[in-house]
Assembly symmetry: C2
Homo-oligomer: 225 residues x 2
DNA sequence: CAGTGTGTGTTAAAATATTAACAAGTTTGT
DNA sequence: ACAAACTTGTTAATATTTTAACACACACTG
């Protein structure tokens, strides 16, 4: 029994000083995903309580997170799903599709490229690159793997700022250097190695090995009990 | 309509072990990896300062982390790489190879299975499973994809406690239920969905979409400057 | 074998993040 | 129109994590 409700239109931009913590920013895409699901199910209004059930975060935390950026809800009622989604899209920068490049068309690079083309409407794969000539024949859902030589031009021509790198750890640093040199400012790194870059370049590490190994720690702790 | 007063309890609250924080545990595999590299290069002694350079964590944090579990270093000198490695292996539980199963032999499942067989000496892939009959012909580095029907027996016979799941989000919960039912206590979930499990089961989410989307937030912040 | 340099381990302080409490709006029912 | 029922947004309290400081132990030197 969803009801239609539109809150007033308050100042949309950031609140005061940007006290946006890293962990908060990582929760925003989760909210966004839940909202997408809710909207698909024609739910118009959602309370922080129910949002808590869906996300696993506490209702207090959700309210606090959202309040960081403005007053998006209606007291006594909840949040309008479409309105909140729009706001979150603006905040995260996902309101316009972002073009990214993938470097390394190995197993992981292919899986990620494929996945993002099919399932992630918020990004567009502008290109995938590899140093191995044998890879250049391959095509992933219509996108041809290109040689590294073509990377600088494409990045600069299209003004691309974001890249995923799925190359062996040994060459990851040189790939980063190349990317940074050509204007990339944000890198999602899957290689299990520490990368160096200028302070204005953001590097996030998606270290799947760490995830698995730390999980094992917990699996053993549990057994003791 | 009756209403509950208390909100849902938050995901996981460690009652006793507040000593070892989640973030600390995630740093341990990083230390371990660096130590492996150092030992391979015949480095015998390492200071927290140099370890800081290699890992990106501060030297203070490294010393504090290690001191949580004991006094592994020598004052005035540093840490013996082999000795520290042994200690960390014991602490993380990686001293004996852990057998795990993979559920979902799609693109990501195949990449992960392959990677762990080739590059991760700390785990052994005991089996990979899929519900799609077409997948059953496939073989990943000698490991044949098995039907879901064979999963319970293998888990129970081999006493397997850890699993990675790489199935579509829509079926992830039912897979978790099946795994838990058969004795799995730790799950690394790659599906972008919140999973429910008994409190004694550890679920880690490796949400690659979140990583990419939160990175985009930062890439845009930078541009403003 | 004292003296000095070095880097750990521990304790204290600061910074962050989470949790809780509640006042302030909003809707609904009468 | 008013009160009851809700739920947000904000402020305060608590917990956790990180940073800093420094005393202490060991090694090396002359
Ligand atoms: N596959 C996984 O599940 C997994 C898990 C954890 C970590 N990783 C990490 O992700 C990265 C990729 O893994 P993968 O399994 O896809 O490896 P892969 O060997 O299948 O692919 C690596 C690709 O990088 C290309 N490459 C090599 N040098 C290059 C260079 N200088 N410039 C551009 N491309 C280059 C290779 O040609 C190859 O296609 C590795 O660092 C790996 O450690 C992968
Ligand atoms: N591939 C990526 O790069 C990527 C990135 C982010 C998230 N993910 C997530 O990881 C998961 C797997 O992604 P993928 O790209 O490998 O998908 P995929 O479609 O290639 O593979 C999914 C596999 O799961 C199997 N499966 C379906 N239902 C099953 C069931 N009930 N029991 C057992 N197996 C079942 C399918 O047969 C298929 O082989 C998805 O949830 C996806 O959202 C993937």
């Amino acid at each position: 029994m969803p009801r239609e409700k539109k809150p007033q239109n308050p100042p949309v931009k950031d609140k005061k000083g940007s006290k946006t913590s890293k962990s908060l920013i990582k929760r925003l895409p989760v909210y966004l995903r839940i909202l997408d699901n809710l909207i698909r199910r024609d739910v118009d209004i959602i309370s922080s309580r129910v949002l808590s059930d869906e996300t696993g975060f506490t209702a207090e935390q959700i309210r606090k997170d959202l309040a960081t950026f403005g007053a998006f809800g209606t007291r006594g009622t909840g949040y309008n799903t479409s309105y909140l989604r729009e706001k979150l899209l603006k905040i995260t920068g996902l309101d316009k599709q972002i073009r990214i490049v993938v470097v390394g068309s190995g197993h992981l690079g292919k899986a990620l490229t494929r996945y993002n083309i099919l399932k992630n409407p918020y990004v567009e794969i502008a290109g995938i690159f590899d140093a191995n000539p044998d890879e250049l024949d391959n095509e992933i859902l219509g996108i041809k793997v290109q040689p590294m030589e073509d990377l600088p031009l494409l990045i600069k021509e299209q003004g691309i700022k974001v890249s995923m790198i799925t190359v062996p750890a040994e060459v990851a640093q040189e790939v980063v250097d190349l990317l940074v040199e050509n204007g990339i400012t944000a890198i999602l790194n899957f290689a299990p190695t520490k990368l160096r870059a200028p302070a204005n370049v953001h590097i996030h590490n998606a270290d799947l090995t760490i995830e698995l190994q730390s999980l094992i720690y917990y699996s053993l702790e549990r057994e003791k009990e």
